[in-house]
Symmetry: C2
Subunit: 207 residues, 2 copies
């Protein structure tokens, strides 16, 4: 265990790094000492990149993905199928699905999944805006691409009940992805196939 | 592999994080997205801590350890034995030895070890200032506490030859630490004992 730091500046920098998830104090010290071997300009660029991102980050007002503009590149790409919406937990899943090259619709980023254990309920997520988006028309199908966990299943089912009366088709990516696995770590071939082989959501309730 | 980012700000922040040693692009993305869930003030504090450290870092003019002042806290502590100098590679080793509570002398931080493979020669290290420090008098003993590797042994021997004519006693921390292991990862008891059981350097050359 590291107890004494020779410099308050150093200790402060280590403390800040150690606040990040998965970074312990030894790793934090290693990363901070590394930065002392970099040029002041490089370290300035690093620090400023984080500060700028946090201060200037913007979210697409349609799909809630991170975006530099008011409407993101995906939502403003008219060659994509706006009638098909893939419902995902977070931006990481958007990136993973985009990388498969198998999906030409739009997204809806919930910002999480319903998880009573973590105190996350439907009101904390972008579910109401999804309901409005569907009810405002032009949407034929939703594809649920949430993590294959109890929380993901709960969220799928919650949205399904909210929208079942609208008649919109609701699919779920095929369960080629192992139960308990998380979307972002799936390999691209499995993930791409699961988009193509999506199953009618009601059918999966009977399994 | 992550190829497309929905935002240039995000991509820039991920790129900056991924430049750090041992941080891949997936980890970088995870850390950057985490920062979006923190307050702007927290992220500002993180970025500023790194920039401030880099711009304002100062090194003790006696031992070359990182220090907020011109002379570090250890060198300016008159209750310590200024006749006993422990030669270390880096600040991490100073912190590790201080944590053992077994050493009451001063340090000399070389800033690395001689490593021809990495292009690091004696001129790149604080060896000349160590020689001057010893020749200016008042030093009875040097303790070599470099990593127990070929590079560490080379550096010990280089300093030994430079100073053998001065008559200063040169010791080496006892080889209770396994050959090939690095100082910073040793447990405190082994490291503390190796300071107490140090061996005359010339004797170790005969082993």
């Amino acid at each position: 265990m590291i107890r004494k730091y020779p410099s308050a500046l150093l200790e402060n920098a280590v403390n800040e790094f150690a606040k990040l998830p998965g970074i312990g104090r030894k790793t934090a010290l290693r990363l901070v000492l590394h930065s002392l071997n970099r040029s002041p300009e490089e370290v300035e660029a690093f620090g400023q990149a984080m500060i700028e991102l946090r201060n200037e980050v913007n979210y697409c007002r349609v799909c809630h993905n991170i975006s530099d503009d008011d409407v993101c590149q995906i939502c403003s790409d008219f060659s994509r199928d706006a009638a098909l919406i893939c419902v995902v937990e977070n931006i990481k899943e958007v990136m993973a699905i985009e990388n498969t090259g198998q999906f030409r619709g739009l997204y809806h980023v919930l910002g999480g999944i319903i998880s009573p254990m973590d105190g996350i309920g439907p009101k904390d997520l972008q579910i109401e805006s999804l309901v409005e988006r569907v009810k405002s028309g032009g949407v034929n199908e939703l594809i649920f691409a949430l993590s294959s966990t109890m929380e993901g299943d709960t969220t799928n089912f919650y949205i399904y009940r909210k929208l079942s009366e609208t008649g919109v088709k609701m699919s779920i990516i095929s369960r080629g992805i192992a139960i308990g696995d998380e979307i972002e770590y799936a390999d691209e071939i499995t993930l791409g196939r699961s988009i193509l082989n999506r199953t009618n959501f009601v059918d999966t309730l009977k399994l």
